[in-house]
């Protein structure tokens, strides 16, 4: 069992209006592929309701830095009352979705993700001491990177959603 430290907790974006669910999903997927994360789609739920579609997607992409450290970013996309609409922009017809979206981003730092330093109590104690007194400057750098990855994702999503405001 890896040791998990929460670096970014519940960074939320809430939006209501016109946007494209498929493009939003592709944006997030492409962002993680670009920065070298492996794709993990934990859950993908789509329910057709009278008021519109309800979509819930949970992504947990991870990036293995060393055999001791791994970055995990959890992204939850919850869309409700999603309906298909057709709008005209610059003389072209665009098929978009209208509804509410909430995106929640969490960032975690996993250490000892292979569980090598948990098999014996002595190893466990050694790991705790090393993490606390020796690896602190290094894990500080890793924490900064995760926070930066999450913030960049949030900025990209905000910029994407802003495009549909006008």
């Amino acid at each position: 069992m890896a040791e998990t430290e929460t670096i970014v907790e519940d960074r939320k974006i809430t939006y209501e209006g016109l946007f494209s669910v498929s493009d939003l999903y592709r944006l997030i997927d492409e962002y993680f592929a670009k920065i070298g994360y492996d794709k993990v789609e934990v859950k993908n739920v789509e329910v057709v309701k009278p008021e519109g579609k309800f979509i819930e997607i949970r992504l947990e992409p991870y990036k293995t830095i060393t055999d001791y450290v791994r970055y995990v970013v959890s992204v939850r996309i919850i869309c409700s009352e999603i309906k298909e609409v057709e709008i005209k922009r610059d003389g072209h017809k665009l098929r978009l979705n209208s509804g509410k979206a909430q995106i929640i981003v969490n960032g975690y730092l996993l250490t000892d993700w292979e569980g090598k330093w948990e098999s014996k109590p002595v190893y466990y104690v050694l790991r705790a001491l090393m993490n606390k007194y020796v690896f602190q400057p290094i894990t500080g750098k890793y924490k900064g990177e995760i926070a930066q990855n999450c913030e960049q994702l949030v900025s990209n999503i905000k910029a994407f959603l802003n495009l549909y405001r006008y």
């Binding site: 794709k39 859950k43 789509e46 329910v47």
Partner: protein, 174 residues
């Protein structure tokens, strides 16, 4: 016998849940055809069908095997549960077609098993040798070619499922 490093690794690819109207027979046929087209040996492990007042409940488990190399065997496991299956008639593109209104759950998992023919099987010394071989000689091949390759290959099946069900989030980076 001690566990050999990365002897058999199972990775859960994802869970898909939906509630809507779908051509259930066509859906199952699409998945089966995908597996056969990618040279998997396809088996239906379990099929349960139960009639309830709310509709038919179907539980289907599939397994597909592929001997990728002499040393690696890939398995894709699909577990599907369809609740409240009711046949409905829908007009699509001016034609009346029979579809099924259902609530579905699909779980996809893939397993990579090394040395399926137990060439290293037998005594402790051979197992220790295999463990050393996996840890120090072919570790990168196991992780990057077999495990990652199988995982991303199974993601393509997941994408095919989402495209058939006309999910909004069916697009992906690759």
């Amino acid at each position: 016998m001690a566990d050999v490093y990365l002897q058999k690794v199972t990775q859960k690819v994802g869970t898909i849940r939906f509630h809507g109207v779908v051509d259930l027979n066509g859906f199952l046929k699409m998945m089966r055809d995908w597996l056969i087209d990618h040279k998997y040996l396809f088996f239906e492990r379990e099929f349960k069908s139960k009639i309830n007042p709310e509709g038919v409940k179907k539980e289907i488990s599939w397994t597909a095997y592929l001997e990728a190399t002499e040393y690696a065997k890939y398995t894709i496991d699909l577990t599907m549960i369809f609740l409240n299956c009711i046949d409905v008639e829908v007009v699509k593109n001016g034609q009346k077609i029979k579809l099924t209104s259902t609530r579905g759950l699909i779980e996809i998992a893939c397993t990579c098993e090394l040395d399926p023919f137990k060439r290293f099987g037998g005594n402790k010394w051979l197992q220790a040798l295999q463990d050393w071989y996996h840890k120090y000689i072919i570790k990168r091949e196991i992780l990057f070619i077999h495990l990652d390759g199988l995982y991303y290959h199974t993601l393509k099946l997941q994408r095919a499922i989402k495209e058939y069900l006309e999910f909004e989030a069916k697009t992906s980076a690759k």
